[in-house]
């Protein structure tokens, strides 16, 4: 094997490796971007869940207020709001996630 042909072989392998490196860099960038998108979506979901948890207290108080006022004033219209949403007047709303 001549020196020239050996050099050519090295050169070929290094070139192939370099092309693979470039391809992998592209793949890594794509994977990173994809993960970042999913992470952003998860963060937004988490924020939504936290905000909903904060609204739970408000919802409970609102339902209690409606139920109390409906009972006190014998207000069928107010009671109707609760029954429309499947809430029995007088029954405390169930916290989410608890059967």
């Amino acid at each position: 094997m001549t020196l020239g042909s050996r050099l050519a072989r090295w050169e070929t392998w290094v070139t192939v490796g370099g092309v693979l490196v470039l391809a992998l860099v592209g793949v890594d960038i794509a994977l990173f971007e994809r993960n970042r998108g999913v992470q952003a979506e998860l963060a937004s979901r988490q924020q939504f869940l936290q905000q909903t948890a904060q609204l739970e207290t408000l919802q409970r108080e609102l339902i209690n207020a409606i139920a109390n006022l409906a009972a006190r004033n014998n207000d069928d219209a107010l009671r109707g709001i609760l029954t429309e949403h499947g809430i029995a007047p007088g029954a405390a709303p169930r916290p989410p996630g608890r059967p």
Binding site: Q47, F48, Q51
Partner: protein, 134 residues
């Protein structure tokens, strides 16, 4: 006189045959470098793929609580809207509730869901509810 020994030494050095320098082949070194970089980026790709799998799992496991949260929020919005409508019709109980909510800084936006944000709402409160995530 004092320079003589040095001159002799120089002459001897000149007479020595110059050794041919071995040509350094850069390709093996370059190949090692390329293999190292390839390994690093390959590992990164594997790691990112693994991370993606775990993120997808987390997303799947958050579907149920998210659905439940959406339902709860829709229910709250609907109750508030109906209360607001009743108050508009002059129901004293609903008006009292709205006043109490307003006192706490809770405002109701009677616009139906899907109304683009920024649409003027008639004097109305809205529990600042961000759009549910996908």
């Amino acid at each position: 006189m004092r320079d003589e020994p040095l001159d002799e030494a120089d002459e001897e050095a000149d007479e020595e045959p110059t050794r041919p320098r071995a040509a350094i082949n850069p390709w093996p070194l370059l190949a090692v470098l390329v293999v190292a970089i390839l390994s690093w980026f390959g590992y990164q790709a594997w790691h990112l793929q693994r991370e993606h799998r775990s993120l997808v799992q987390i997303r799947a496991s958050s579907e149920a609580p998210l659905d439940q949260a959406r339902k709860r929020r829709a229910q709250l919005e609907s109750i508030m809207r109906r209360t607001f409508e009743l108050a508009q019709k002059g129901n004293p109980g609903a008006t009292l509730i709205l006043q109490e909510l307003a006192r706490r800084g809770v405002t109701i936006n009677p616009a139906p869901p899907g109304t683009p944000p920024g649409t003027p709402a008639p004097s109305a409160p809205a529990p600042a509810a961000p759009a549910p995530p996908k």
